[in-house]
Amino acid sequence: MSMKEYLKDRTIFLLINFILFTVICGIMLLINISTSIIFLIFFIWFFPIFTYITIEFTKQKILYNELNSIMDNLDKKYLLAEIMKEPDHIEGKLLYDLLRQANKEMHEHVKNYRDRENEYREYIETWVHEIKTPIASTRLIIENNQNHITRNIKDEIKKIEEYIEQVLYYSRSNNVSKDYLIKEVSLADLVRSVIKRNSRDFISKGITIDIEGVEGTVYSDAKWLEFILNQLIGNATKYNRERDGRVTIDSVRNENNIILTIEDNGIGILDKDINRVFEKGFTGENGRKFGESTGIGLYLCKKLADQLGLGLVLESDAGEGTKVSIIFPLGGINLMC
């Protein structure tokens, strides 16, 4: 706020005063009143006005400067009304009250949505736990009655379980703090357990796996990591070739990070699709060809990786294969021993 703008705001008031003064001045000149008296009257007339305007301007300027600086330093800008001091003049007070009221309403509004979201999330969590019971019994029934029919059902059950897990992590992905436990994770153990989970796919498609190079430990949340890795390895087997498929998992330790790479020699991703693979709902050419693609898997991986502070990079040549790297920065929460 500058003086110029402030005066501009009061143009009409000042203009009226000047016109009135000019008129009176003209009358005074006509009846031969000396110019010194006219100057005196001008002074008496305008000195209080300008003093008043200057004081008011300073007051306003102080108030708004303060508000602006609070606003600049505030992380959550909507908390302005909570933080600002109550102004001591009437206009400021009115504005302050209105701001507070609006704020309060807004908080209630937001709270309403937050409650609804939490409720929904809680429901999803309960649902996921409940559906695990019938799945567990189905698995046992299959185990007790093994033949080629139940083996097929078992494969389908595995898919159902993956979709259910996806739902769970999707609902958790917006609120990482709740279910998050950082501890030492051995990469080799992690990779082995995910490969075991996917062993049927590797075996039935005849895909060779090589994990000899995986070593080292990182500090992260094991469950979330397992979910991410499961999605990536699932993709590596799903978008693989008909014969001689190969998945190589390796780890490299650099000066300031550890990189875990999952590389396949599968169908790869077209150049026009590659930049969009982490977008929600994006399925691309491979999705159209293979079906059964939801466009959620990689999106979730990226989101969870971001929350865990991990990098996720995907490179691919169509027809040659795909390479995904999970980057564990050293230091901070992923500090390595």
Partner: protein
Amino acid sequence: MARIVIIEDTEKIREELKTFLIRYGYEVAAPTNFEDIIKDTLKEEPDLILLDINLPVFDGYYICREIRKNSDVPIIVVTSRDSEMDELMSMNLGADDFITKPYNTQILMARIETILRRVNGSSIRDTIVYNDLEFNLSNGSVKYKGKIAELTKNEIKILSCLYKNKGKIVSRDDLMDFMWNEDVFVDDNNLSVNVTRLRKKLEGLGMKKNIETRRGLGYILP
């Protein structure tokens, strides 16, 4: 044989788990009255307890704590709650292991075997005998009529899987499943090579009748 008590309120799971464990040669009790579950369980004098968390009357944590007051019997918590907190809780209350539903039955079996072996210490059978073949699991060697041969890790797994199912045809897929579960990620070609080598080793010892191939079906140790 080891006696396992299943504390589980879902009838289907309880019954199927019972069938499953009985099939693997365990004695199984699965109480259905949850009012006196702790007393009933201890009365069974189990060698191991499989414990669910979400139960009527008392929850699994309480049961776990109460059993620990009177007994050191190994407890495996089996639950659909999969958060780290639940795992931590169970361990703090004295559970020996924690498995989340829906579990892989092979993994469940492996954990049960591991814990029982740890508790019973000495009773590990480290030599199995098939006809005149002595198979030493601890150093991976086979002995036939005085002659000894060393087996590789993969060959040990193959032989022990076929031995467990002796007299039955084991399909290549099942054999692969077994190996992958044991952290040996062989592919199709590797498996054939390994089986061939194993067979040669056994023949080299003079054991003419060993692993047979049933074309299109799998392998069998008759």
